[in-house]
Subunit: 409 residues, 2 copies
């Protein structure tokens, strides 16, 4: 008998049949005696349909009115799910973001939750009602409708779980958990039973798009246990929580993340004066381009080299800016390379296991992969490679760090 928040995404409520299945799942948990709060997204495709409508009227729709428009998507699904629960004989009540009320700042289209008034919800729960809340939306101090931006429904779920002290926030999605790496790349990838918030953040930001980063951050901050589950298949999913002290020894590595969304810019032969990195990177930041990995070589012959990565979509803009700066600084050359990938080992166990890095580098050397850049954090080591080696590198590391499914070839 716990208080459980369940969040279902757009595909999980994409048709009447699926809404009925969600109702069955909610009913099952209710039957077990749990107090239930359900958070829903809009039916899959609905948000895009509404955005299309808006763009037919106004090329860049007014943010306030776009939120009024988009907020209708979840309002439809919460009403339909309540009806499906009523049909099954369960008491249930829907709430829009404004009704709950989920108070946000006034940053339309990307609002942040400030506060949740949980009184009405608690009163309903005490009466045995299932509470169904529209995800993705809230209301500002002045009563304007706001939305939290893409993936905001995960955040709504976590925020409600935090506000009400839920025992677990279950995120239902189209995968059955978090994997050691992408099963489409590595056959023997294995579902993790649990993973820490920190690890999940590293995995998520590196391209394992199971959960929205904001939601994981939020959950970590308020210590809300998150569980990723498949909407329509049974299974325990993956629990995302604080580090589990009961596990005597964490494995060194939890998973391998990777992406090929980045591109690399190298400035060669920059006269080595203090502030080189600042002079090159600050105009990039001014242009709202995010920089990921940065590596500066030790100065030789009074010149230095600087390499950094940006999102591939930003490469052309970034390159133009860098060439400008390089000319001013008297640098020798600028090289752009979009054919790269980034592969990262992630694991809190890394802290206590020496030799993870050297084992990684040896594994890659053994399969003749040249490392272009290296960057490390407390629980992550990332390498930048030629993109053609990505799958080879991921498979070799997955096997070397014994992440393979037990019994897999």
């Amino acid at each position: 008998m716990a208080l459980i928040v369940q969040k279902f995404g757009g595909t999980s409520v994409g048709s009447i049949e699926r809404i009925e299945q969600v109702a069955d799942k909610v009913a099952k948990f209710r039957d077990e005696g749990h107090d239930m709060i359900v958070v829903l997204s809009a039916m899959s495709g609905e948000t895009n349909r509404l955005i299309d409508l808006a763009k037919q009227v106004q090329e860049r729709p007014t943010p306030r009115e776009l939120d009024v428009l988009l907020a209708t998507g979840e309002q439809v699904t919460i009403a339909l799910l309540c009806m499906a629960l009523h049909k099954r004989g369960y008491d249930a009540r829907s709430y829009t973001g404004g009704q709950v009320r989920i108070l946000t700042d006034s940053a339309h289209n990307k609002a942040r939750i400030r506060e949740i008034d949980e009184q009405a919800i608690r009163a309903d729960l005490n009466q045995g009602r299932v509470v169904v809340v529209a995800g993705f939306q809230g209301v500002d101090e002045a009563g304007n409708i706001t939305t939290l931006g893409r993936g905001g429904s995960d955040t709504t779920g976590v925020a409600l779980a935090a506000a009400l002290g839920a025992d677990e926030c279950q995120i239902y999605t189209d995968v059955d958990g978090v994997y050691t790496t992408d099963p489409r790349i590595v056959d023997s990838a294995r579902r993790l039973d649990r993973i820490t918030f920190e690890e999940m953040l590293e995995m998520a930001s590196l391209g394992s798009k199971v959960l929205q980063i904001r939601a994981v951050e939020f959950a970590g901050k308020y210590n809300v246990p998150l569980r990723v589950l498949h909407s329509f298949k049974e299974g325990p999913g993956t629990l995302i929580s604080l580090e589990d002290d009961s596990v005597m020894e964490n494995p060194a590595i939890s998973g391998i993340a990777f992406n090929r969304d980045e591109a690399k810019l190298t400035v060669i032969g920059i006269p080595d004066t203090p502030g080189v990195a600042y002079q090159i990177l600050s105009p990039i930041g001014d242009a709202n381009i995010e920089v990921d990995v940065i590596v500066q070589n030790i100065a030789q012959d009074n010149t230095t080299d600087l390499t950094f990565t940006v999102h591939r979509n930003d490469l052309a803009r970034a390159e133009a800016i860098v060439r400008e700066t390089a000319k001013k600084l008297g640098a020798r050359e600028v090289i752009a390379d979009s054919k790269i990938c980034k592969v990262s080992l992630v694991g809190v166990g890394m802290r206590s296991h020496a030799g993870v890095a050297s084992k990684m580098f040896k594994t890659l050397a053994d399969v003749n992969i040249n490392i272009q850049m290296i960057t490390t954090s407390e629980i992550k080591i990332s390498v930048v490679l030629d993109e053609k080696y990505m799958e080879l590198a991921v498979r070799a590391l997955h096997s070397a760090f014994e992440l393979d499914e037990p019994g897999a070839a």
Copy 2:
């Protein structure tokens, strides 16, 4: 420079093109310096689409959740119209029923407006903003979303006009005004420049479905001048207001209404005791069947006859009930007839013009139409006829009372 409320129905906002046309119309009035409040329905077809969705989930959808669902329809159109106005450079802001706030009772699906908080609207108007309000919806004391039932957007428009003391409430529709009678039946039917609330009520309840009765009642009660106009054609429309004292002499008749929605039940040879009408009609009322015209003959030979009309859809049920009662009372016979029509002359001028009734009866006699029932009110005379004479009767009366378009054949 006036304060104008404009209400546009579903067909007027049925597509992006039409929403753009509505924006043009609103902009034109704003350019003339008027303060503008716009009330919108959902895009045509949208409410039915949502009801279909609900019925796929639950045969009789929970009223509270149905309102949550249906209220999304207008929320979409108000956002889109605001975007269209912004594109044209006009300041505009949308409000849902809950945001305004339009306070209603808690009768979901058929709520009645209790109060409107006009402060936010007035503040916006003072800043030169066009205020765009979702029709058809409100919110109850507890913050639940309510809807006003079909045609509720007209009521929203009138209620806003009343609350803010608007100079005129313009109802845009697919006809260019109120006609002396249905132009599809009488070629020479003429658009009326003005008509009183009372006349409009009689016309509306008798089948001229231009405006919702509730909205006209509301407008009459708060003396809000209503104007019916065509959404996309220019023209003065028809003004519905209090009786105009400046017109020296009102014409006797403003229009002719008719319908063939009714059926007639006659109970013959009822032993004439007090309370016969009550005994026959109260079981009908108990079955929630509405009775329209009632005529009781003078008793002869200690028996009496009673005839009344009900909606044709209710005839079978009503007949079964009446046969039961007739047996108990010892009546001789029950006759059901669904092949009838009702034709009514409507006009406030009738009060001061003697001889309207006799002129009506003579006109019908001249074309050999037999009158089956007669009922009268202050501003209306209705006759029930064989339905096959309906068009003939309407045309003959239209011409006899000089309602024809000047110059028509």
